[in-house]
Amino acid sequence: MNFDLRLPLGLLFSLFGALLVIYGIVSDPAIYARSLGFNVNLDWGLVLLLFGLIMLSLALRARQNRK
């Protein structure tokens, strides 16, 4: 079956990551009082973005190898 799950997986988490990073930058710092002062949206958003991009690059590389 030529359906590589890493593609939607990578896409979804890249989008989640990007959303959270942007929101982390523009949001009011006061909301981070509950997360012990850490801007967790920014920090964790970067982790998700990284994971998403790794999955995407793996999927794209596999696609290139098949050609």
């Binding site: 799950l5 989640f16 929101y23 981070y32 509950r34 012990l36 850490f38 967790v40």
Partner: protein, 573 residues
């Protein structure tokens, strides 16, 4: 009253994006669903890392995220026994010893294996009880989700039930088992990424592991236990009265570790189906073992937040409380979602809530896909209409999916009168699943076991479970159909409902074992050695050693994960 948790625009954006992807995967797979084998078995074409994560995720339903968080608060780190003595060894055993017979027999379902190994009536009994149980579990998942959304976010109960049911229905009807499996992998990552920040923040806030120990010592003292009871998993298992679970080490290791866990992980078609979809024998064997690696670490993201929650409640100035139940005691089932609301700001909160919803839906989808396969192959094709075209069975499979989802919704409404989800599910497991593991053990490793033996073993095992439950009672409980003692006499009182469940399972297993052996010896073998080839250990030629690197060998991988689990047991003993 206002609802405890408020989601903002960004949170809804994350939620919507996720469900668009879930439905999109179903849509993209639609054109691949050409035969019933594609729909029910994924054409046996999926790589091991995907089936492995789906194997884990199919079980990540209501009992996992909500139930384990609740137990973490109620019992502390002792809850990790469900993973470190329960799930992981059973998963490794399945991969190394049992998968060769499941995958090698070319059976399409677990009941079909029973038909090949034993006889028709054993299969029928198993197929029917399994079909009922999947619908039941799926409905409970749905109910728990809707109740949660209603309590915490103020969503309408009926709206939640029908929306979740429709999403699950849509992606399974479109893409069958493949769609369910792919979405389960998505859900696995959602759950890990959604809950990991919560565990980290919670532990940091409690002052690290040492700080948490101090707080939980206070919780233990308040309930008259030794100070380390909530943070040491083995030291207080000497007697049932020394720990909040009310179980001693023997009942734990034999009841939970051996009978219940092996019964569930090694024979439940819901999880075994994921491994059967793998693209080779080696991938099928690696499936549960690959799943065991993350499973081993799950206590840190599902149990730990519950432990932190009960520590926070201890702190008078922390301002963290759980909503109470009717009798005024805290509702531990809300520990996990309330922690999400306590620590996560808008943004991550949406991610956490999406993960929570994803976990319920993967539990439900797993049950529905297992149900439609067993219904179509083992009941419909077998008893109702045996000689139709493949396209006909594909259509029946889709209809069975609709039927299964509608029945689940019915169960969800019925479930509004039941309380602790976890104990209820354990109760059902004990009645139906516990004897089953004895049947498979004998079936796979004793060639003399026969059809009559298996059938009467299962029947009497289930009856023994019900009878044991009906004649015993947990301490402090009153006689009733849920608690026990309903046969008119109470012969034994257990320290807790958990202990009663573990011993019910042990009785069922032992009865099934004894009856199967006795009846098999008293009656003739109904299968020839030729028919049993590939189904029984002693009659199956050893597969030639496959030329694979060590990290792809099931035995090596299994040894690594067992060693790591042993280390965790020792570190947190």
């Amino acid at each position: 009253m206002s609802h405890p948790i408020h989601l903002g625009g960004i949170d809804y954006a994350i939620l919507l994006l996720y469900f668009l992807f879930v439905l999109g995967i179903g849509w993209a797979l639609k054109r691949h669903m050409k035969s019933s084998a594609d729909f029910f078995l994924s054409g046996r074409s999926i790589p091991a890392w995907i089936t492995g994560l789906a194997f884990l995720s199919a079980n990540l339903g209501a009992q996992e995220v909500i139930g384990m968080g609740a137990s973490g608060a109620q019992y502390g780190i002792i809850t990790s026994h469900f993973y470190w003595i329960g799930a992981v060894p059973a998963m490794v055993f399945l991969g190394i010893f049992m998968m060769p017979f499941y995958y090698g027999s070319k059976a399409r379902s677990v009941p079909e294996y029973l038909k090949l190994r034993f006889d028709e009536k054993t299969r029928g009994l198993n197929a029917l009880s399994f079909a009922v149980m999947t619908i039941f579990s799926s409905g409970i998942s749905l109910y728990a989700l809707a109740l949660l959304l209603q309590t915490l976010l103020g969503w309408n109960f009926t709206f939640s039930i029908w929306t979740s049911a429709t999403i699950v229905l849509a992606y399974i009807c479109l893409g069958g088992l493949t769609s369910a499996i792919y979405n389960e992998v998505l859900q696995f990552f959602m759950i890990v990424f959604g809950f990991a920040p919560l565990a980290w923040l919670g532990l940091r806030d409690a002052g690290g592991w040492e700080g948490l120990k101090v707080r939980l010592a206070g919780v233990a003292a308040q309930q008259h236990f030794a100070p380390g009871t909530w943070t040491e998993s083995w030291r207080h298992m000497g007697s049932p009265s020394a720990n909040p679970l009310g179980v001693e080490w023997f009942g734990l290791v034999m009841g939970l570790g051996f009978v219940l866990s092996f019964g569930y992980w090694c024979t439940d078609f819901l999880v075994v189906q994921r491994a059967m979809a793998a693209d080779s024998m080696s991938a099928a064997r690696r499936t549960p073992i690959i799943a065991a690696f993350p499973k081993m670490l799950f206590p840190f993201i599902v149990i730990l937040p519950g432990m932190v929650a009960v520590g926070l409640m201890q702190d008078q100035h922390g301002g963290f409380t759980l909503p109470t139940m009717g009798d005024g005691s805290p509702n531990y089932n809300l520990a996990m979602p309330m922690m999400l609301g306590h620590y996560l700001p808008s943004g991550l909160l949406g991610l956490g809530f999406t993960a929570l919803m994803a976990s319920f839906m993967s539990g439900m989808a797993g049950n529905v896909t297992a149900f439609n396969t067993v219904w179509t192959y083992d009941i419909y094709q077998n008893y109702v209409a045996p000689t139709k075209s493949d396209a006909h069975y594909l259509m029946v499979g889709r209809l069975a999916t609709v039927f299964g989802v509608v029945l689940s919704v019915g169960v969800a409404y019925l479930a509004t009168q039941f309380g602790n989800i976890m104990n209820l599910l354990q109760l059902v497991f004990a009645f139906v699943n516990a004897p089953l593991f004895a049947t498979f053990l004998l079936g796979m490793f004793w060639r003399r076991a026969n059809g009559h033996g298996a059938f009467f073993g299962l029947l009497f095992g289930t009856i023994a479970a019900a009878a044991h439950h009906g004649l015993t009672l947990p301490a402090g409980a009153s006689v009733g159909i849920m608690k026990g003692g309903w046969l008119g006499a109470v012969l034994h009182t257990y320290p807790s409902a958990m202990a009663q469940n573990f011993w019910t399972a042990l009785f069922a297993w032992s009865t099934c074992m004894a009856v199967t052996i006795a009846v098999s010896l008293a009656t003739a073998q109904n299968k020839s050695d030729e028919q049993l080839r590939g189904l029984v250990y002693s009659l199956t030629p050893k597969p030639p050693a496959e030329d694979e690197p060590w990290y792809r060998k099931p035995v090596t991988l299994g040894a690594v994960v067992l060693a790591a689990t042993l280390a965790l047991n020792l570190v947190f003993a």
